[in-house]
Every structure is written in structure tokens, then in C-alpha cells.
């Protein structure tokens, strides 16, 4: 994106949308809004008539008869009274009438009112759409007047980030996940080749993290797991977001190393690895760390909470969902110099992780 050569095209807005055309379109939309407004007023008039009628019909049977002026054609009336005040002749439609009691009539009228309200709803929705359209036209007109230009550039995929688009979705089905995993496996192998010199550093960091996680787990065990479990279930839906945040933190922590981009990738994969394995095999970890920054520590704490939550779920609620119960193996990192064992991987792998890793990569660009 910093390249000097011309990559895209620049189009002034007012050459695409001529001001007169925009104004015309806006006027058209405003007319249409006015029409809908009229319709809305009409329907609302019907609704108020209907509610008045419901009140009238409800109260008519209170008395045996009511003195009224009985209309006689459009221009004359007789003094008279309403009789049989609990009998109504209601038009059902298509010229069919039915004798109903007051209560039944009220029900019919209420149903009519409901359909009227539906009409009002749809009219309002239409008007909202039109107003949004009008706003768009107005803003386009002002933009064009201000001489805004549209810059278009073709998207060229960068070769070392060729991940399938499907991994962007937060909860992919199992089949996709497996594809994901195999893809990322290939990618990680190439990563390994490039970044083997920096591996020692990661091993060290991983060891530190393992230590922290172990401490955290011990702490949890001491303070009781029941309460924690409850919290994790509540947290679970937001896990993807939070984990990507955490990964960014880790990026910051490891950002000072020699080849930042690939190194970060690597680091995150390792992190995920550890996240997955730790709840079940923390006792295997080598503890060879020294004190680290607050960010990292916080990350470790959150991470261990997360993973212990996952572990709890896996033991207590098998088949929690497709995402949780996925048990395909993630065997992407076979680095010999990492403190881990691969025996327990299949039981603790979490399918959501490739997704978040991709997210991280996106954030990295």
C-alpha cells in the first residue's frame, strides 16, 4: 500500500452522479415518502375509528335501548331508539353478513384492528427505507458538490497469507474446520522453515507462560472450581473476541523480535498449542521462566481461565455443541524444542482456535 506506482482508479463523484440527476432522484423519493405519509394517516384514521367503534359496541349492551336519531337516507332522520342492543349484523366481507353478539363483534373488530396495525407497521418500514434512501441521495449530492472522489484499487492477495475465506466465520461447521486445520498445517510448516532461528525465544516464552498457567490453575483449585465453571459458561459466547484481543496483547509482547510478522504468527500458534494442552498436562510443563510483563501475565491468567472452562465443559457436558465437541486433532506444531507432549492433543483441541488465529493475522496487516 506504500508503493509508488498507480494501483487504482480515481473517479470524481460528480462525474458519476450528476447533481441534477441526484436532485431529481431525491425529489422522487421525497414524493414517495409524502404519499406513504398520506396512506399512513388514512390507515391511522381507520384505526381510531375502529377503536371508537369497539368502545361503542362494548357499551351498547349496558342498556336495553338507546335514544338516537335514526338516519333516514342521507338528508333526513327520525327520532327513535336502538333496540336489541346485543345483536349486531357485521359485514364479514364479500357481501356476507353475520349476526353476532356484542362480545363476538368486539373480537371481529379487534382482528380488523390487528390487520390495520400490521399495515401501519409495513408502511412505517417502507417509509424508513425511503428515508434512508433520501438521506443517501442527499449525502451523495453534498459529497458530489464538495468534489469528493472515489478511489478504487483491486485487491491483490498477499501470498503468505493465503487462508481460505471461510475461516473468517466465527463458528464454521466441522467439515470446514478440518479443511482449515489442514491448510493451516501446511502454512505452519513453511513458517517453521523460515522461523526456526527464533524458536528458542518462543520456547522460552512458552515455558514462562506454562509456569504462569500452572500457578493460575493451582490458585483455581484452591479457590474452588464450581463458581468458576458458572462464570465460564456465561463468558463462553464472547470467547472468540476476547481470545483475539488477548492474542493482540501477545503480539505486543513479542513484537520486538527480529522478523515481526512471521514471528508473531509462530508465537500465536504456539500459544494456541499451549492453551489447548495446558489444562490436561500442565504437570508436564517445564518451569524455567523468569518474571514477565504485566500484559503477558494478564494474558496467561485469562487464558488459563478460558481453557479450564473449556476443559470443564468437555468433561461435564459432552456434546455441548458442534463447536465444543469437535475432537479432530490439531497436529500443526511438531517443534521438538517446545516443552510439550502431543499425546493428549486430540482430547483437548478446540476448533475455535484456527479461526481466532486468522483473525489475529488479519489484525496484523
Amino acid at each position: 500500500m506504500t508503493g509508488g506506482e498507480v494501483k487504482g482508479t480515481v473517479t470524481p463523484f460528480d462525474s458519476v452522479f450528476s447533481p441534477a440527476a441526484v436532485r431529481e432522484a431525491a425529489a422522487k423519493v421525497h414524493d414517495s415518502i409524502a404519499d406513504h405519509q398520506k396512506d399512513l394517516a388514512r390507515v391511522q384514521g381507520f384505526i381510531s375509528d375502529n377503536t371508537n367503534l369497539i368502545n361503542l359496541v362494548r357499551h351498547l349492551p349496558d342498556e336495553l335501548s338507546h335514544d338516537i336519531m335514526v338516519p333516514f337516507g342521507g338528508a333526513a332522520f327520525f327520532p327513535g331508539k336502538l333496540i336489541h342492543t346485543n345483536e349486531f349484523l357485521v359485514l364479514l366481507g364479500e357481501g356476507y353478513y353475520a349476526d353476532r353478539t356484542a362480545r363476538q363483534t368486539v373480537e371481529i373488530l379487534k382482528r380488523r384492528g390487528k390487520s390495520l396495525e400490521l399495515q401501519v407497521e409495513s408502511l412505517k418500514a417502507k417509509m424508513m427505507n425511503l428515508e434512508a434512501e433520501a438521506k443517501f441521495f442527499d449525502s451523495t449530492a453534498t459529497d458530489a458538490a464538495e468534489g469528493l472522489v472515489e478511489i478504487m484499487e483491486d485487491y491483490v492477495e498477499e501470498p503468505n497469507k493465503s487462508k481460505p475465506e471461510s475461516s473468517m466465520t466465527t463458528g464454521p461447521p466441522v467439515a470446514d474446520l478440518e479443511k482449515d486445520i489442514s491448510d493451516s498445517n501446511g502454512a505452519s510448516i513453511s513458517d517453521n522453515a523460515r522461523t526456526s532461528t527464533a524458536d528458542d525465544e518462543y520456547a522460552q516464552i512458552m515455558a514462562m507462560l506454562d509456569e504462569r498457567e500452572k500457578e493460575e490453575l493451582e490458585h483455581e483449585n484452591a479457590s474452588g472450581t464450581n463458581k468458576e465453571l458458572g462464570e465460564f459458561e456465561a463468558e463462553a459466547p464472547a470467547e472468540d473476541d476476547s481470545s483475539s484481543d488477548e492474542e493482540e496483547i501477545v503480539e505486543a509482547a513479542t513484537g520486538s523480535s527480529t522478523s515481526p510478522h512471521s514471528v508473531n504468527n509462530k508465537g500465536n500458534e504456539i500459544f494456541q498449542k499451549n492453551k489447548l494442552e495446558n489444562p490436561l498436562q500442565d504437570s508436564n510443563c517445564e518451569i524455567s521462566g523468569k518474571p514477565i510483563g504485566g500484559n503477558l501475565q494478564q494474558y496467561v491468567m485469562e487464558q488459563s481461565q478460558d481453557s479450564s472452562g473449556n476443559a470443564g465443559k468437555q468433561t461435564s457436558r459432552t456434546g455441548f455443541s458442534a463447536r465444543r465437541s469437535f475432537t479432530g486433532s490439531i497436529i500443526e506444531h511438531d517443534d521438538a524444542n517446545l516443552p510439550k507432549s502431543s499425546s493428549n492433543q486430540s482430547t483437548s483441541s478446540n476448533p475455535a482456535k484456527p479461526v481466532s488465529r486468522f483473525k489475529m493475522q488479519k489484525g496484523n496487516r
Binding site: G73, F78, V90, L109
Partner: protein, 146 residues
């Protein structure tokens, strides 16, 4: 030459504006007014027929149905039909006997018929004016070509 054609163009524009902006709305308005009078005429002729039916049957009480709105009807009873209140205009109603009512209705119908004639005349007038102006425009456009 160009100046005169420009002048002619402006004149034609003015005439067209007059037809579209003045005469045609007037025409629509007059037709609507006449329709209203027709409606009144129909109401009174209905009333006349109804009263004549009542007279013929000689019934003094009446059972009918009243529309409460939204096509909901209730039965109504009229104990004495010999006196009827008729709308005489401007929101006033007068209590008539049948014969009085029929007299009034015939007077009213005559007046309504006259009104209809007036409006018909007015409408014809406006139509004639529109025709005249259109003819003028046509002449303005055709003269130079002759």
C-alpha cells in the same frame, strides 16, 4: 428573425401555462362541484321515494338498521314515523310532516337541478376557453410555416 421566434416561443409558453395552471384546475374543480350537486339530488330523490313508500303503506312505526360505522349494524325502532327531520342546509334540520317534506323536497330538487345546469354551463365555458387557447397556440406555431 431569431428574436421574433424567441418571442413566439415565450408567448406559446405563456398560453400553455395558462391552460395547464389555470383552466384545467378550474375545470376539475367545477366537475367536482357538479358531482356533489348530483349526489345531493340523488339523496333527495331517495328521500322522496322513501316517504312515498311510507305514505303508501301507511305504517306509523318503523324497524330499521343503523350503521354504526365499519359496516356494523344495529336494529333501531322508530315509534312515530309521521314526523321527519329533514336537512334544509347549513346544518339546520326542520321537523316536517310527510306532505310538507315532499313539498320541500320538490323545491329543493328544482334548485339542485338549476345548480346542475349552472355548473354544466360553467364546465362548457371552461372547455371552450381551453379549446380557444389551444387553437391560438396552434396558430402561433403554424403561421410562420405557411
Amino acid at each position: 428573425m431569431a428574436e421574433s421566434s424567441e418571442l413566439r416561443r415565450q408567448k406559446v409558453q405563456k398560453f400553455e401555462d395558462f391552460v395547464e395552471g389555470r383552466l384545467k384546475p378550474d375545470l376539475v374543480n367545477a366537475i367536482a362541484q357538479r358531482d356533489k350537486v348530483f349526489e345531493q339530488q340523488k339523496i333527495f330523490s331517495d328521500l322522496k321515494r322513501n316517504i312515498q313508500v311510507l305514505e303508501k303503506s301507511g305504517a306509523t312505526s318503523l324497524r330499521t338498521r343503523v350503521n354504526l360505522g365499519s359496516e356494523v349494524y344495529v336494529q333501531a325502532d322508530v315509534p312515530d314515523t309521521r314526523r321527519v327531520f329533514v336537512d334544509i342546509g347549513l346544518g339546520f334540520h326542520v321537523e316536517f310532516t310527510w306532505s310538507e317534506a315532499l313539498d320541500f323536497i320538490s323545491v329543493r330538487e328544482a334548485r339542485l337541478t338549476r345548480q346542475v345546469e349552472e355548473y354544466t354551463h360553467l364546465i362548457a365555458n371552461i372547455k371552450a376557453q381551453i379549446k380557444l387557447v389551444l387553437e391560438g397556440i396552434r396558430e402561433l406555431l403554424q403561421l410562420p410555416t405557411e
